[in-house]
Symmetry: C2
Subunit: 214 residues, 2 copies
């Protein structure tokens, strides 16, 4: 029964993987791959590694959740992280409420929930757009920052998509992947940063503090 | 019949692709993928693009072949391109004579033969080693320099290998891929460079001339 369940999960992941190679911007496919591929073992190895770094370890202990009120953030002064975030989301018709609400009752589920609910903040702070090139750049950033195999899986899908369906976009995509990797290697750990405490700060200061060149 | 032939070619390419994902350093698998995947259409689009650049266009017209005599190059002074090449090859037990000898009677076959026979020179001038990380870095360099889909195919295989079999090597590999991409974007075209005329020149001068930081 367990075996059948596992086979179904892999089949669903493979089907979602094919959808992803066809269109790497499909959020539903990304979530389906994540749900069916990210095993507790993977998550545990991430937790082990993060526990050895200061900010991530503190977040794992306290498990702060990120509640986002876009209307509230949109009223902050221009140049602040919160305002930049609200502008970024609204310009793209994105709504944090669209992400599935996840439980975070232990370190493993917190890693998953935290990465999901902070993803758009990472976009804003790193400066990667939400088109495929930008998403791939951000995945390279994730790969540099976290010992998780999900980001490189998306990079494989994204490169295969580039090869098969999006050849003219290859230069922008590879530029962003190279930039994301270097940025992620040079920056301080983003995992566990208490973004909610930083909304009113200038984005430039937040970037400088995290080692992201302006 | 044509269809069956094509299906066999694709099946052979897929089998070689699986071997490549398992071990990206297998030269036989790389050659098998190249033989079965690189179609005349692909080569034609590369020729079209290269014809618009000065050095590559001249090479396409003159089709110079690279004959390599390692013993001869090994006698050149230290610091020259030729000596560095001979040292590089001997240190790794590599022999240019091991590569399949290819015909180059027209622009299409010349592209294939030229890329094959200059591959090790590109290693030396770019400074990428011949381990998997270095090969992937050089493939990223190729991808930046040529409109060919073979390099990104090897990058997909290499990333899949990293994900499945070589996780601890991921940082070195991604560092090299990011470096290769940037180097390839910044350097002058390597395709068609008359390496045989440069053997006696200092490697540093060759690099400077081609826009490769020392």
């Amino acid at each position: 029964m367990r075996q059948i369940h596992r086979t179904f999960k892999l089949a669903r992941a493979a089907a979602a993987g094919v959808r992803l190679v066809r269109d790497p911007s499909r959020l539903d496919a990304i979530i389906a791959v994540a749900r069916n591929v990210v095993s507790p073992d993977f998550l545990r190895s991430i937790v082990d590694e993060l526990s050895r770094q200061e900010v991530p370890a503190q977040a794992l202990a306290e498990r702060p959740r990120l509640q986002i009120d876009l209307d509230c953030l949109a009223r902050l002064p221009r140049g602040t992280l919160g305002r930049a975030f609200a502008d970024h989301m609204r310009a793209r018709g994105l709504d944090p409420a669209a992400l599935p609400r996840m439980e975070a009752n232990d370190p493993l589920s917190f890693v998953r929930a935290h990465l999901f609910e902070t993803h758009d903040v990472w976009h804003v702070v790193t400066g990667f757009d939400t088109d495929v090139a930008g998403e791939l750049g951000l995945q390279a950033f994730y790969m540099a920052q976290l010992p998780a195999r999900f980001a490189p899986l998306l990079l494989v899908a994204g490169l295969a998509n580039t090869l098969l369906y999006s050849w003219p976009d290859r230069t922008r995509r590879m530029d962003e992947i190279a930039r994301g990797w270097r940025l992620g290697r040079g920056a301080r750990p983003f995992f566990g940063v208490p973004w909610a405490a930083l909304w009113s700060e200038p984005l430039e200061d937040v970037r400088a503090r995290l080692g992201v060149p302006g």
